[in-house]
């Protein structure tokens, strides 16, 4: 039994942390709030690619490192701690999606995605008032091997660099992911400005053409590919929320030791220290749930929803609480533009409502529990 990072993983983590601290300046995010979405420079992205991060969970026979999914989450958590842009998340998530496809073209695309020649992004969230791929209203219709997609996607990441999108669509009574080229006729991309300055866009699809081979996964697998990719991407967002939580706690903890008021460090006041203890509890529970989600995804990807939702629901709330506590406990200085606290808060709030908010994920768990009861299963979990 091992339910923590292996020594190999710890070594990767340290290397990632070192690299990021040397190459990435999180105050870039502050600048981007004024000057448009935050970007990873081509040179830096090529370094990331060259280190093999994108293929870290991709199976070895497709050119990846085949490491367990926890490693991907660990990578994202480290990146989030220094507010490295979400591009890493979408790159990992689309690599995961492509990795599940046989045939010829998808593995090829995956290969060039991993080497940085292409960038594949994903389009899932919609503006229809609900979350989750099961509620998507983007529709694909086919006749023969050809078809068209119509619909609208929002908060699609990294359209500035993506040459392909994997678009979650309804096809008949199934949900599937369909690959669409960024320059496909009928596809309009409009930038959206997110409060954390990440690059997100709206995709408007009007009869965008596709063929059978653009659908990810075989006929009997395609729906599972969409669902698993959603679960995996959601888990990466949870890892991102955990990273933000950790940094918020560390920053505030350090400040509470250093800042004096009334001749004492403010961390000696229980109004401060007990609130930080609550944040610590939030973080520890969140970290545990994230590991649980990774394990579930690894071992039984098609039954991982409850664990994935548990992590996302908890961490959406926890990151919000942690960053709000950070702002409050820093007092006036925490409320200034120059301090990083609001950058953390912006990312936490953005991701808290990304790929399903806490209520949506609790609703999924509620449905799962009700289902369990109906099938009169004796065991609640395990």
């Amino acid at each position: 039994m091992e339910f923590q990072f292996s020594s190999d993983q710890l070594a990767i983590r340290d290397a990632v942390a070192k690299f990021l601290s040397e190459e990435w300046d999180l105050s870039e995010r502050r600048r981007a709030l004024d000057d448009g979405p935050v970007k990873v420079s081509d040179a830096l992205w090529q370094q990331v690619v060259d280190m093999g991060w994108i293929g870290i969970a991709v199976s070895e026979d497709k050119g990846g490192s085949g490491l367990e999914l926890l490693t991907s989450a660990m990578l994202v958590e480290e990146a989030a701690q220094v507010l490295f842009p979400s591009r890493l998340c979408s790159a990992l998530a689309s690599a995961y999606a492509l990795d599940q496809c046989g045939g010829d073209s998808m593995p090829k695309l995956l290969g060039s995605h991993m080497t940085g020649q292409h960038f594949v992004s994903l389009a899932m969230d919609e503006a229809n008032g609900d979350y989750g791929p099961e509620n998507n209203s983007t529709r694909a219709t086919m006749s023969g091997d050809e078809g068209v997609i119509s619909g609208q996607k929002i908060l699609v990441p990294d359209a500035d660099v993506a040459d392909h999108f994997l678009v979650a669509s309804r096809l008949g009574d199934k949900g599937v992911l369909i690959k669409v080229a960024a320059d496909a006729p009928g596809l309009t991309i409009t930038p959206m400005e997110r409060i954390d300055a990440q690059c997100v866009s709206e995709l408007e699809l009007k009869d965008v053409a596709f063929s059978t081979e653009d659908i990810l996964g075989d006929a009997d697998e395609a729906e599972a590919v969409l669902q698993r990719t959603y679960e995996f991407w959601t888990t990466l967002i949870s890892a991102d929320l955990l990273g933000v939580t950790t940094t918020a706690l560390q920053m505030t903890n350090a400040y509470a030791k250093e800042r004096h008021q009334f001749n004492r460090p403010i961390g000696s006041f229980q109004a401060v220290s007990h609130r930080l203890a609550d944040v610590k509890m939030d973080e520890e529970v969140g970290r545990s749930l994230l590991y649980g989600a990774c394990l579930a995804l690894q071992e039984r990807p098609d039954e991982s929803s409850p664990q994935v939702s548990a992590a996302k629901a908890w961490l959406s709330d926890a990151a919000t609480r942690a960053t709000e506590a950070a702002l409050q406990l820093h007092g006036g200085i925490g409320y200034t533009w120059e301090l990083d606290v609001h950058l953390l808060l912006r990312q936490a709030r953005s991701n808290a409502v990304y790929l399903g908010d806490a209520d949506y994920h609790r609703k999924r768990i509620g449905a799962y529990l009700a289902e369990q009861l109906k099938s009169s299963a004796a065991g609640v979990s395990n």
Partner: protein
């Protein structure tokens, strides 16, 4: 028990409503930044607006007539607060002058100071800012370090203040300075009135977490302040500042602001969806909305209770901190709910073409986070309630 207003009061309210109706154009012009001369000059427009309000009798209502006030009844003041807040009129630009400086001068100033400043404060001739907080002295205000040395008949001030509203446009400043470094920290502070045009003052806008610049930092480099600008005694400034901090209001106008906020939230609920259904059919949303309605009702009735006490001549006590603490919590909760209802659009900036209500909710969210910090953090408000209302032993020693 009786919450009704007298006939006389209702007549007063009607007169006010008539005035508001008759000055809609003026209000609109002010909000567009057009001043009395027809020039686009937002600051001057706001000064002009305050002067008109004053001349109509709706500013300085509680002040002695001798200093330009109207000596109105408390009920009339409440009526004016309520009606102005409901009508979404422009605010008075000289808030600090009206709520902090003037009460201080009336209570502690000498006759010359009153004559020189009070009328100008009322008319918006001088806009005042407040130099209390410092980077190292936030909650622990009395540990401030901006120093003044007495030289002949003047003070020479050096140091830095922060969180100063209207800094860049202020004409004058009320300033707390340390005049005795060796005395216990509360006994070496002096209260000064400073001309912002004095040599050695630099004002730098301070951007807040939401990106706005409502505040500024003010730097003092050997700024000379005549001795006649001292309020009260040398080293006696802390008690004077403290008496202003206590000078809380009944909070009923704050309730109207919350009600306006709540109405917007209701509109959002009416238009929004939760779980793919109209939000208005979602029991959880309704439950939450109902809770906010309850809390606003509670604050309103709390305001009426405080007002009743004031009408009987009792001074509003530290109970007002209950209202401050409670309403900042409520404001934050409502802002968060709005974002939840906004769903995936919740995280967009006002620059995004997709943002809801032109970014009102996101801006409101960032603003709401400041309410539990500015004007005494929620932690300090808890201390105040514990120590001064519940009379518990102090948790903070100096």
């Amino acid at each position: 028990m009786d919450l009704s207003f007298s006939e006389q009061d209702e007549a007063y309210r009607q007169k006010l409503r008539d005035w508001i109706a008759g000055n809609k154009d003026l209000a609109t012009r002010t909000m567009k930044g057009i001043d009395d001369k027809g020039d686009r000059n937002p600051i001057q427009a706001m000064r002009d607006w305050q002067r008109h309000l004053y001349e109509a009798g709706y500013v300085g209502m509680s002040w002695p007539k001798a200093y330009g006030g109207y000596e109105c009844s408390l009920t009339e003041q409440v009526i004016v607060n309520e009606e102005l807040a409901r009508a979404h009129l422009p605010p008075t630009i000289n808030t600090i002058g009206l709520t902090i400086v003037a009460p201080t001068l009336i209570q502690h100033g000498n006759e010359d100071q009153k004559k020189e400043h009070l009328k100008r404060i009322l008319r918006g001739d001088d806009i005042w800012c407040q130099g209390f907080s410092e980077p190292g002295a936030g909650s622990d205000l009395a540990s401030l370090r901006t120093a003044a040395v007495v030289e002949d008949d003047q003070f020479v001030v050096t140091g830095q203040k922060v969180w100063t509203s209207v800094g860049p446009i202020a004409d004058r400043c009320v300033l707390l300075v340390r005049t005795d470094k060796d005395a216990p920290k509360r006994e070496g502070i002096t209260y000064l009135l400073v001309d912002m045009k004095s040599e050695g003052i630099t004002v730098q806008p301070l951007r807040n977490a939401g990106g706005g610049s409502h505040f500024s930092e003010v730097f003092f480099d050997e700024v000379k302040v005549p001795r006649g600008n001292m309020v009260g005694e040398l080293h006696g400034g802390w008690a004077i500042a403290r008496s202003t901090l206590d000078n809380e209001r009944s909070g009923l106008s704050g309730v109207v602001a919350l009600e306006n906020n709540f109405k917007k939230l209701l509109e959002l609920v009416e238009a929004g969806t939760r779980s793919g259904k109209p939000a208005l059919e979602d029991p959880q949303t309704l439950n939450q909305i109902a809770q906010y309605w309850i809390e606003i009702e509670g604050l309103r009735y709390l305001g009426y209770r405080t007002l009743s006490e004031q009408l009987k001549g009792q001074k509003p006590g530290p109970q007002a901190s209950v209202g401050k603490l409670f309403s900042s919590k409520l404001r934050q909760a409502m802002a968060k709910s709005a974002l939840e209802i906004a769903g995936p659009y919740a995280a967009l900036t006002k620059k995004s073409p997709h943002v809801l209500n032109r970014g009102r909710w996101v801006a409101g969210f960032f603003d709401s986070l400041g309410y539990s910090i500015g004007g005494g953090t929620s932690e300090i408000m808890h201390n105040v309630i514990a120590e001064r209302v519940l009379e518990l032993p102090r948790s903070v020693e100096d």
